[in-house]
């Protein structure tokens, strides 16, 4: 125990101190160069370590992953497109894709809609009430998915019939002589996936609410006043005047949630571990990599995920460029 803490302290001191010395040395090195070379080299000295970290931990492994996706399970021989063929003709994997698609279709839109709804409602309270209610809704954002799944046991838990039900949902159904139901096993219309999505929404709506509330408050009052003078009702004002002006924020929230949903892993892993037809790409990837030890399949899954992310990536870069141009 003592050794661990000492280790961590050492890592902080060594990491920070080491980085300081490194930058100091790099700076000295750049300054020792003559004239124009100093200006040419110095930026690379400043940005170099960060670029190195990104290169070593993201870019280079990404390229390797691409390579591995065409290789066998222990990455010793190339197998062409076999991994992709296997996966895309495997009916269980196609179900995984379908589940992910459901997450993608439902969750980002629901997060935006709920967050906006709560924001509009809470903004009408007096400042104190607004602050308190927003804190309550926002709070789950700090909780890990593992924590959230644990917390939601108090709602979803199932006990065999005849024993006391300790999950709130089954207790409520019990009042009407229904159930008990093993909720996570009900895959009719992907009901169990919906239950998992609710846990995820519970953690994310606060995020959406805070961003959208800030955006709504930044809408200039005179545009709303103008609408009012022209005789528009509250609803019309909201959808025709407020919503267009907060649209960039809506997109931001949507994309942020979209990305986290595409790679969702923890929540499914902790609750059902992919059973009962709730599996998603992130969990299947972990399964192939860690449990099955199949680097080829795992890499191919990541490459498919990457391909799905590309449109978002393009949007992201374009949006950034447009914003830079406006600076």
């Amino acid at each position: 125990m003592g050794i661990k803490i000492a280790n961590a302290v050492l890592a902080v001191i060594g990491g920070i101190g080491g980085a300081m010395i490194l930058f100091w040395l790099l700076n000295k090195l750049a300054e020792s160069l003559k004239g124009r070379w100093e200006d040419r080299v110095k930026p690379w000295m400043f940005a170099g370590p960060a670029i190195l970290a990104i290169g070593v931990y993201l870019i280079y492994p990404a390229i390797q992953t691409f390579q591995f996706s065409f290789a066998n399970e222990d990455s010793t021989a190339y197998v062409g497109f076999k991994n992709y063929q296997d996966l895309l003709t495997d009916s269980t994997f196609l179900l995984v894709l379908l589940n992910n698609l459901l997450w993608i279709i439902i969750v980002p839109a629901a997060t935006v809609a709920l967050g906006l709804g709560v924001a509009v409602l809470a903004d009408r309270l007096r400042p104190k009430g607004e602050k308190i209610s927003k804190t309550f809704i926002f709070l789950p954002m700090a909780i890990s998915m593992v924590g959230a799944a644990t917390i939601w046991r108090s709602i979803y838990e199932y006990k065999p019939a005849g024993t006391p039900q300790t999950g709130l949902l089954n207790a409520i159904f019990g009042l009407f002589d229904k159930g008990p139901f093993f909720w996570y096993s009900i895959d009719t219309l992907h009901f169990n996936s919906l239950l998992l999505m609710i846990i995820f929404l519970w953690t994310q709506v606060g995020y959406s609410m805070v961003l959208l509330s800030a955006a709504v408050k930044a809408v200039p009052e005179d545009t709303i006043e103008a609408g009012r003078i022209d005789g528009a009702g509250e609803r019309r004002i909201f959808f025709s005047i407020v919503v267009p002006q907060i649209w960039p924020t809506v997109i931001t929230v949507f994309i942020t949630v979209l990305i986290s949903v595409m790679k969702i892993f923890d929540i499914v892993y902790v609750t059902t571990n992919g059973a009962f037809n709730t599996d998603v790409v992130g969990r299947r990837f972990f399964d192939e990599l860690f449990t099955q030890g199949n680097n080829g399949y795992a890499s191919a899954i990541v490459v498919l995920l990457m391909i799905a992310v590309i449109p978002v990536l393009i949007y992201q870069v374009r949006h950034f460029r447009a914003e830079e141009a406006m600076r």
Binding site: P61, M145, D266
Partner: protein
């Protein structure tokens, strides 16, 4: 994710915007305009949102037998006949249950999180300075790559890293996780800090230059002190992200002596016999630190969010 366009990142959190003061509270939707149905609706929402947490909290203080015998909500009908106990916490923090000691995992979580939060800040700050205040070839291209990497899922790096760590024997060590989190957090760190720095008044930096200050001095004496809000934003993001992470910890630390809270809590979930009564208290032990960090530093967190932070 990039900034929302509406806010200068970090320059005044949105909640400080005076816009709402201008609202006419009588004409519809301003603060204090809530009618009773709206108030009641918000109260219901807040209650709904808190119910699961309250359930966990109540169960964590009940004996194993009581947890099994009745739902957590029954304590509201008989708060005095309930046998409240802190035994679950004592047991979960001090003994090995199903091979997991949450007390040790708690320490491990700190050991993993603190260096993984603190170390990237300095590296990213230097880089952000170079991206903001220095002219160099390739600068814009490199930064666009950083922006793009914000949305790239970390999964892209995991297969080769696991392989590499196996070869060099880093699997199961804290160093493995620290380095991974430093790398994965770097694009976000550089992005947040660069966004913030480019909103700083140029005149101050120019005058420092005229006074003969080198980049190095300008960075330490001017930019770092001025960037404290952005540094704090990133620190909170990274702290929460690393503390709450399951995937990286599962892959690189596993379930041995170095296991962290999220992995340990996940391991407890399957318990049906002994140890089952400890799940609630273990859950609370896992979430308490991020909750405290979050509640006490909410302002910085929101500031970071409006600066448009997303992590792939």
């Amino acid at each position: 994710m990039t900034s929302t366009g509406t806010f200068q990142p970090g320059v005044g959190a949105p909640e400080e915007k005076p816009a709402q003061v201008l609202r006419h509270s009588k004409t519809g939707s301003g603060p204090g305009s809530a009618t009773w149905p709206v108030r009641i609706l918000v109260i219901i929402l807040c209650v709904l949102w808190m119910i699961p947490v309250v359930g966990l909290l109540i169960n964590s203080f009940r004996t194993g037998d009581e947890q099994l015998a009745s739902g957590w909500w029954t304590v509201f009908f008989s708060p005095f006949s309930t046998q409240w106990t802190i035994q679950n916490y004592v047991q979960v923090l001090t003994t090995d249950t199903a091979g997991v000691n949450m007390g040790v995992a708690f320490i491990n979580s700190f050991v993993v999180t603190v260096p993984a939060t603190v170390i990237p800040i300095l590296i990213a700050a230097f880089a952000a300075y170079a991206f903001t205040f220095m002219e160099w070839r390739g600068r814009d291209i490199v930064f666009v790559v950083v922006v793009g990497l914000l949305v790239v899922p970390n999964q892209v790096a995991l297969v080769p890293l696991l392989k590499l760590y196996n070869v060099v024997g880093l699997n199961g060590t804290f160093l493995a996780v620290w380095l991974a989190h430093i790398g994965f957090g770097m694009p976000l760190a550089v992005y947040i800090l660069r966004n913030y720095m480019s909103g700083l008044p140029r005149a101050v930096i120019e005058s420092a230059k005229i006074d003969g200050a080198s980049h190095f001095t300008t960075f330490w004496r001017l930019i770092v002190p001025m960037s404290v809000p952005a540094l704090a934003s990133f620190a909170i993001f990274q702290f929460l992200w690393v503390w709450n992470d399951l995937l990286v910890a599962l892959l690189f630390l596993g379930r041995g002596d170095n296991t962290i809270l999220t992995v340990a809590l996940q391991g407890l979930q399957g318990q049906t016999g002994a140890g089952r009564e400890l799940i609630a208290s273990a859950g609370f032990v896992t979430i308490i630190v991020p909750l405290i960090v979050f509640l006490s530093l909410q302002r910085f967190f929101i500031r970071g969010m409006t600066a448009g932070a997303v992590k792939g």
